[in-house]
Point group: C2
Chain length 139, copies 2
DNA sequence: TTGAATGCAAAAAATTTGCATATTG
DNA sequence: CAATATGCAAATTTTTTGCATTCAA
């Protein structure tokens, strides 16, 4: 898997230390907004990066399929390594609680989507909203 | 269904013409960003509303569960009537194409989430990302 | 009346862009 | 060397807030 450099080059892009550091930071964080990722990069001992570079790096890495993102709440795209997406996120509309279930829980849905549309769904990038145990009982 | 006024009052909120107009605009539009909704409200003959009021109205209506939203792309939350959410959206990461499958396709997933977490998932508010028929074959 | 909601304008966030300079291949 | 990225600052875009005023209940 993956010579980052080769994959970038294959797309006419280049391997830079910034992109390596952003990728590493995403891996370290698990999940993070562009801002949090910028902070994480800043604490790897290599000096801070401007947010604009973080955005551009995330774009580049997304194009390669190395990182993905979900919208956990209204405002923040949360990036993660593509291979970290091993579960479906659920987000409570009431209290904001975030939980997860194994990706396999979505097998049936993924199969049905493929049947009907020929679409390769990546459930690991989905955030399902709803109400958690507590909020569904409450008013 | 519902008496909008009653539902609002039940939460200590009030029925205002602005909220009625925002709700109507969302219904007319089907889907729309706060900005588009503001425009739509502006063309109902009742004069424009400041975006801040649109945001606040959408919040209020969301709390009542009358409107919901999905993140169709990176940047835009797309609001819709809650009862319009009768399908699961799929969004192609490659070309941005948006499709949908019946909500029932997610029954199994919803059941599993309930089993494991006691969480009431609302699949109609989920956008599943992936690759469409065309993009999955292509580079 | 009285607290909730609006309108407006200003503030805060979040994201993108222009351009000279530095780097990769 | 040539094309791609970076850094930085400024410009956009999106969302939120403060506050005096209006309005629903």
């Amino acid at each position: 898997m993956s010579d980052l450099g080769a994959r970038l080059r294959a797309r006419g892009k280049r391997l830079t230390s910034q992109r390596e550091r952003v990728l590493a930071a995403v891996g370290r964080l698990g999940h993070g907004t562009p801002d949090e990722i910028a902070d994480a990069v800043g604490s790897d001992g290599g000096g801070a990066l401007p947010v604009s570079t973080v955005y551009r790096s995330l774009d580049a890495l997304s194009e390669l399929g190395l990182v993905g993102h979900t919208h956990v709440d209204h405002r923040a795209p949360s990036y993660h390594l593509a291979d970290h997406a091993t579960h479906v996120h659920v987000v409570c509309r009431g209290c904001g609680w975030v939980g997860e279930v194994p990706l396999s829980a979505a097998d049936e849905l993924v199969a049905r989507i493929d049947d009907r549309l020929g679409f390769a769904a990546d459930a690991g990038h989905a955030a399902v909203h709803g109400l958690c145990r507590t909020c569904r009982e409450d008013p």
